[in-house]
Structures are given as structure tokens and as C-alpha cells.
């Protein structure tokens, strides 16, 4: 029983990270109807940004092991990633907006390769230690379950960002613009929604979330390396599809479900097949419910 509960805690923490990344995928898909494969590598840039931002913080009062330091570093990483997301959209995706969907998709794969391999050249291919942003404490609960402070931080930050995102999307004018754009771009433009600006804003939010996810992920694995974003990126894409791509709460729930599946599979006899099981779950969901759990099946009138 203790093992089951512990795996649940692990799964929820892992799932929250996937959820944050999946939200970025789903936001961009909702607005532009294409999957941004470079998203996973934005996560990697966020983690490295945190490594570099961490240095100067040492001279601040409170030092680096403080909550304030952590917030600053994460916010900084999110800003860097937001800027990167806007830049990528402007340089790589905007010129291709009138082209076929496939063209932009391939371009996004190209951007992903550029970021990952460029990262290897700039940062070096070796993995580096990720600095301890917060002191790590273990809180043994009843029934043999140990909740580590890093579990709590991940869950807390993810929840907070999720709430903020929901607030922005459902209660602000910018969010209204995003929702309008995702329903019908032409009509939205006719109603006065600034197309380019809103799209840039969407990319900025999505990438900022990936940046935060990058910091949290690096905190959990205690290291950074240029190719670290590939696998979480793919898994988060699966999570987004599982939950229904285009739906915000679908992405969040999909992320949590995937984290739980991975956690239970990894602790069982089938631990070598952990990734295969995660991908298998995707295939299963697509067979039973192609739109994902919370997605809406789009019917095309012929």
C-alpha cells in the first residue's frame, strides 16, 4: 500500500511537469492548428537559463537557497523562454503562415534540431549539475510514504501556473482574443482581434510554461544537458493528445494521467517497458476515442 501511495505521489509530481509542457502544445495547437515540435527544446533552454541566472544570485541577500531566489530564477527562465518563443514564431513560423500545414510542421522539427544541436555546441554536450535552488527536505508521512520537498514544489508551482493561465485565458481580454482566434481566425480578425500580436502572445505564454517546466524538471533530475528536452517534449505531446489537443484542462489531466501511468509501470516488473507502455496508452486512447479524453470531435461538413 505504501508503495502504491508513493508511486502515486511520484506520478503526480512527474505528471505536473508533463502537464505544464502539454499546456504549451495545446495552446499553440488551439490557435494555429499545428504542433510545435520545438517546444520540448524550449524546456531545455529554460533549464540552462536557470543555471546561468543562478550565478549572479549568489551575491544577493538571502543567497541562493531561498524561496525568493527560486522565484527570481524561475521567473527569469520563464521570461527568457517567452522571448525565445516569440522569436521562433516570428522567424520560423510566421513567414509560413499561408503555406501548407505540413511545411510548418517540418520547420518546427528543424527548429527543434537547431536548438538541441546548437545547445550541444554552445553549452557543451556533457551534462552539468543543476544548482540546488531550494533546500531539500524529506517529510515522511504515515504509511511509509515519503514526500520530498521537491515533490511539493513541483505540484505547488504547477498548480499556481495552471490557475494563472486559467485566469488569463478566461478573464482577460488577451485570453478572450486567444479563445476567439482558436474558434475562427477570420471572424476574430473582423472583430478587431490583432492576429499577429495574439499569436505572439500565445507563443510567449506557452514557452514561458515550458521554461518553468524546464526548471522544475532540472530540479528533479539534478542535471542539465542539451538533449534533455527531447523525451519530456514527446511525452508531453502524448499527454496533450491523450487529454484532447486543443483543450486546456485536457492537457493538464492528460499530463497527470501520463505521469501516473509511467510511475506505476516503472515500479512494476515491466520497468524496462515503461516508455513503451506510455506510448501504448496513447495508441489505446486514439483507437477508442480519437479526439482525446476532453477533445471535441471536429466534424467537417462536406
Amino acid at each position: 500500500m505504501a508503495e502504491f501511495l508513493q508511486q502515486t505521489v511520484n506520478g503526480l509530481a512527474l505528471g505536473s511537469i508533463y502537464a505544464l509542457i502539454a499546456l504549451g502544445y495545446t495552446l499553440v495547437y488551439g490557435v494555429l492548428r499545428f504542433v510545435n515540435f520545438a517546444h520540448g527544446d524550449v524546456l531545455m533552454i529554460g533549464a540552462y537559463a536557470a543555471v546561468f541566472l543562478h550565478g549572479p544570485l549568489r551575491h544577493m541577500p538571502g543567497g541562493t537557497h531561498s524561496v525568493g531566489g527560486f522565484v527570481l530564477v524561475t521567473a527569469g527562465a520563464m521570461l527568457v523562454c517567452a522571448a525565445l518563443g516569440v522569436l521562433i514564431e516570428f522567424l520560423a513560423y510566421r513567414p509560413l503562415r499561408r503555406q501548407a500545414r505540413l511545411t510548418v510542421l517540418i520547420t518546427s522539427i528543424g527548429v527543434s534540431l537547431l536548438l538541441a544541436n546548437g545547445g550541444q555546441i554552445v553549452f557543451g554536450a556533457n551534462q552539468r549539475p543543476f544548482p540546488d535552488l531550494l533546500p531539500e527536505k524529506n517529510l515522511p508521512l504515515a504509511a511509509g510514504v515519503v514526500v520530498s520537498s521537491s515533490h511539493l514544489v513541483v505540484l505547488g508551482v504547477a498548480l499556481l501556473l495552471l490557475l494563472l493561465l486559467t485566469l488569463v485565458v478566461h478573464r482577460t481580454r488577451y485570453g478572450l482574443a486567444i479563445r476567439a482566434l482558436s474558434q475562427n481566425p477570420t471572424a476574430a480578425a473582423l472583430m478587431g482581434v490583432h492576429l499577429n500580436g495574439t499569436i505572439s502572445f500565445t507563443f510567449a505564454i506557452g514557452s514561458a510554461l515550458a521554461g518553468a517546466a524546464g526548471v522544475l524538471y532540472a530540479m528533479n533530475i539534478h542535471s542539465v544537458e542539451p538533449l534533455m528536452g527531447t523525451l519530456p517534449g514527446i511525452k508531453a505531446f502524448i499527454a496533450a493528445v491523450l487529454g484532447g489537443i486543443g483543450s486546456l484542462h485536457g492537457a493538464a489531466i492528460g499530463g497527470l494521467i501520463l505521469g501516473l501511468i509511467e510511475s506505476f509501470a516503472g515500479g512494476s516488473v515491466l520497468s524496462s517497458y515503461r516508455d513503451a507502455i506510455a506510448f501504448g496508452a496513447l495508441v489505446l486512447i486514439l483507437l477508442i476515442r480519437p479526439a482525446g479524453l476532453f477533445g471535441s470531435a471536429q466534424t467537417e461538413k462536406v
Binding site: 554536450a125 540546488d132 515519503v146 521537491s150 539534478h222 542535471s223 506505476f264 520497468s271
Partner: protein, 404 residues
């Protein structure tokens, strides 16, 4: 702006492909034959290539100078370069200087076979030195065996490496021995229940865990849990939780220094307090750089400890410190010994032709290497002792020597 027509797109793509092909082929052209061209961190040495005079004896070195196991490759290279310099300073071998031709496989699977073929056919080396990781040695061994070129692995411990054929030698102990060493060590600590976390993608890890399991169960111990992961995985919490549920007294982690510290840190976060034990794959300062306090109190078996009092060791450590301003690790010592054994064999054979050289290598007896006396057995493995290292205060401390 005119939209690109299909013709222009095609021409553009073709031009890009040609450009990429030209650029990448430039990268693979043979590097100039000086030992430090591929390792920027070692100070440049001018003593390894004679300006004129007798033709140098070319030794091919293939190793992981960059990539995930860069620490191994760079240590090997430092050790082998030091050995080549020392030998050349004393007049070389058979009156000819040694020349080390080094190639980097970037720690990637597949690269090793390309560079080994290149070393054999284009660079025409008389012998090969490499690799550290058993998986990559196993990749190179069949190629060396088919060409009849002797290959000496400084540190691959998987048994299958030398079983490939009579051209493949090693300078280190095998996993059969290492598994028994670790089993004996854990038993001596009174440990009866051990859990294992294996890296399924590495022959070293799989081989060592199998050998350990055999030795430990034979001596009455119990493997309470065995979980696995794949190289490159970063999150081990699910496997560690399953291990924790079985209450082991120690956990065997027969993997490399790249993942070991991550595993141990996550284990401590989950409340797993028992000691972690590893093999010689842990031998790198990155173990404590990445692992921090979590690694305190962990043990691993290794080939050599710089604190040893033996004259040969102290001499080597001093020379290494003078040249590189840092202490050598076991991998560097093995790289040094590999060159030493090869030079000794060439001298005894009186020639660099493969057949006499292979015979001389197989007949190596009581060669006084830094990592112990080397006598090749019928499988071209040396019988040597192992040391147990304990991580203390962020440093490696020698604990004890275990003899076969």
C-alpha cells in the same frame, strides 16, 4: 517578394544538401598526426613525433573524448599520452618513436566502428588501444579480430570482449572477478539483502549485475529486488520506490558516473538511506560533482587508488601531477598501462608485425604495471587485485584491496 517556385525550392534544397555533405566530410578527414589535436585540455606536447629519423610506430587510440562518457575518454588519453612521452624520451621502442593517433567516438554507438575501420585501413596502425565502455569495445572487437590487428582495451570489464578472438586483450580485471569482489565486500559488511538497479542498455551494467548476482546468491545472500532502466533516463523514482518497498540493506548500482549520482540523489529524496555500491564505471570526479552530499558513504570497486604506497604508483602519480596538475584516476592509469604493455610486447617481439606481436602480447608475464602485475591468462585477461573506494568528504578514499 516572389514566392519560391518549385524549381527554386529544389535547387535550394540540393545546394543545402551538397553544402552539408562537403562540410561534414571535411570534419572526418584525418587530424594531423600529433597526440593532442583532439584533446584541448591537455597541454601540447612536442616530444611524441620525431622530426626526422626512424619511422614512428603508429598506435591507434579510439575513445570517447566528448559526449556522455567524456570523462573516461579524456582520462585514457591523458594516461596514454603520458606513457608515449615517457617511452619516447627514453629512446622509443626498437629505436623508433611511438606515435599515438587518436580518434573521438563522441560516446555514441556506431561511431566506434567507423573510426576503427579508418584507423586500421587508412592510418595503418600496428595496434589499437580502446575502449573503456564495454559496449563500444564489443563494437570494435570483431573489426580488429577480422583484420588481425591487436586491440588492447584499457578498462572494458565485460567478459565477452576478449572472448571475441585472439587479437583482443585487456589490461583490467573482468566483471566476473569484479562481481565476486563486490559480493565478497558486501558480505564482509554483513549485508544479506541487496537490491539491484541495472542499466539495460549497457553491456557493462548487465554483465556486472549478472556476475554479482551469481556470486552473492552462491555465498548465501539474497537479491530482494531487481529493477531496470535505460541509459539516458533521468527519472528513477518509480524503480527506486519499488526497491524501497523490499527493504534492501544495500543497493547495487552497476552503472556509469553519468546516471549513478542522479539515482542516488533521487533515492535519498525518497528516504532510501542504505549504502549504494558501484563498480569501476563510477570512477570519475563527476560522481561527486553531480551527486554532492548524496554520494557520501557510497562504495565502488576500482582498479587502482592513487594513495597506494607502491613505488610504481607513486612515480606515475607524480609524473601525472607534474604534467596535468591533477590527480590521475584509474582510467588514466589503465590508459598508461595499456601503452606500457604494448611497448613491452613490441620490444619482446622485435617487430610490429601482427603475428609476432600477438604472440608477445599473449605471453606477457609479470609486467610491472601501475595497476598491478600483469600476466595474461589463456583468455588474454590479466589476474589483478581490485581496490574498494569509499566516497568521503566529496573525495575518493581507498578502503581496502581485494585479491582474487
Amino acid at each position: 517578394m516572389k514566392l519560391p517556385t518549385p524549381d527554386r525550392i529544389f535547387t535550394g534544397v540540393l545546394a543545402a544538401l551538397l553544402a552539408t555533405a562537403t562540410l561534414t566530410s571535411c570534419k572526418k578527414s584525418p587530424t594531423p598526426a600529433s597526440t593532442d589535436s583532439t584533446d584541448a585540455s591537455a597541454p601540447s606536447s612536442k616530444g611524441s613525433k620525431a622530426p626526422a629519423g626512424p619511422a614512428p610506430i603508429r598506435i591507434g587510440e579510439f575513445t570517447s573524448l566528448t559526449g556522455v562518457n567524456a570523462s573516461f575518454g579524456q582520462s585514457t588519453h591523458k594516461g596514454s599520452t603520458l606513457a608515449v612521452e615517457e617511452i619516447n624520451a627514453k629512446g622509443g621502442v626498437l629505436g623508433r618513436p611511438l606515435e599515438l593517433v587518436t580518434r573521438d567516438n563522441q560516446s555514441k554507438a556506431g561511431e566506434t566502428s567507423i573510426i576503427v575501420r579508418d584507423l586500421i585501413s587508412r592510418e595503418k596502425v600496428v595496434a589499437l588501444i580502446g575502449e573503456i565502455a564495454s559496449r563500444r569495445s564489443l563494437e570494435a572487437a570483431p573489426i580488429a579480430q577480422d583484420s588481425g590487428i591487436p586491440m588492447i582495451s584499457p578498462a572494458s570489464t565485460n567478459e565477452r570482449v576478449t572472448l571475441t578472438g585472439n587479437c583482443i586483450f585487456r589490461i583490467c580485471f573482468t566483471d566476473g572477478f569484479q562481481g565476486r569482489v563486490l559480493s565478497k565486500f558486501l558480505s564482509s559488511l554483513g549485508v544479506k539483502k541487496v537490491a539491484i538497479l541495472v542499466d539495460n542498455a549497457q553491456d557493462y551494467s548487465v554483465g556486472l549485475s549478472e556476475n554479482f548476482r551469481k556470486a552473492f546468491t552462491e555465498s548465501g545472500g539474497q537479491i530482494v529486488s531487481e529493477q531496470s532502466y535505460s541509459s539516458g533516463d533521468k527519472d528513477f523514482r518509480s524503480q527506486l520506490t519499488a526497491i524501497k518497498a523490499q527493504n534492501p540493506e544495500a543497493v547495487l548500482l552497476p552503472n556509469y558516473y553519468t546516471e549513478a549520482p542522479l539515482v542516488v540523489r533521487q533515492a535519498r529524496q525518497l528516504g532510501i538511506d542504505v549504502p549504494f555500491v558501484g563498480g569501476d564505471g563510477w570512477d570519475s570526479t563527476e560522481l561527486v560533482t553531480l551527486g554532492g552530499d548524496a554520494m557520501e558513504g557510497s562504495f565502488f570497486s576500482n582498479h587502482f587508488a592513487p594513495e597506494s604506497e607502491k613505488a610504481a604508483v607513486q612515480q606515475f602519480v607524480k609524473a601525472y601531477r607534474d604534467k596535468y596538475q591533477t590527480d590521475p584516476d584509474a582510467i588514466a592509469a589503465l590508459g598508461y598501462d595499456a601503452v606500457g604493455v604494448l611497448a613491452d610486447a613490441i620490444t619482446r617481439a622485435g617487430s610490429t608485425d601482427p603475428i609476432p606481436l600477438l604472440e608477445a602480447l599473449a605471453g606477457t608475464k609479470e609486467f610491472p604495471a601501475v595497476t598491478g602485475n600483469i600476466t595474461m591468462d589463456e583468455n588474454r585477461n590479466p589476474t589483478k587485485s581490485a581496490v574498494i573506494i569509499r566516497v568521503e568528504g566529496g573525495k575518493f578514499r581507498y578502503l581496502e584491496t581485494v585479491t582474487p
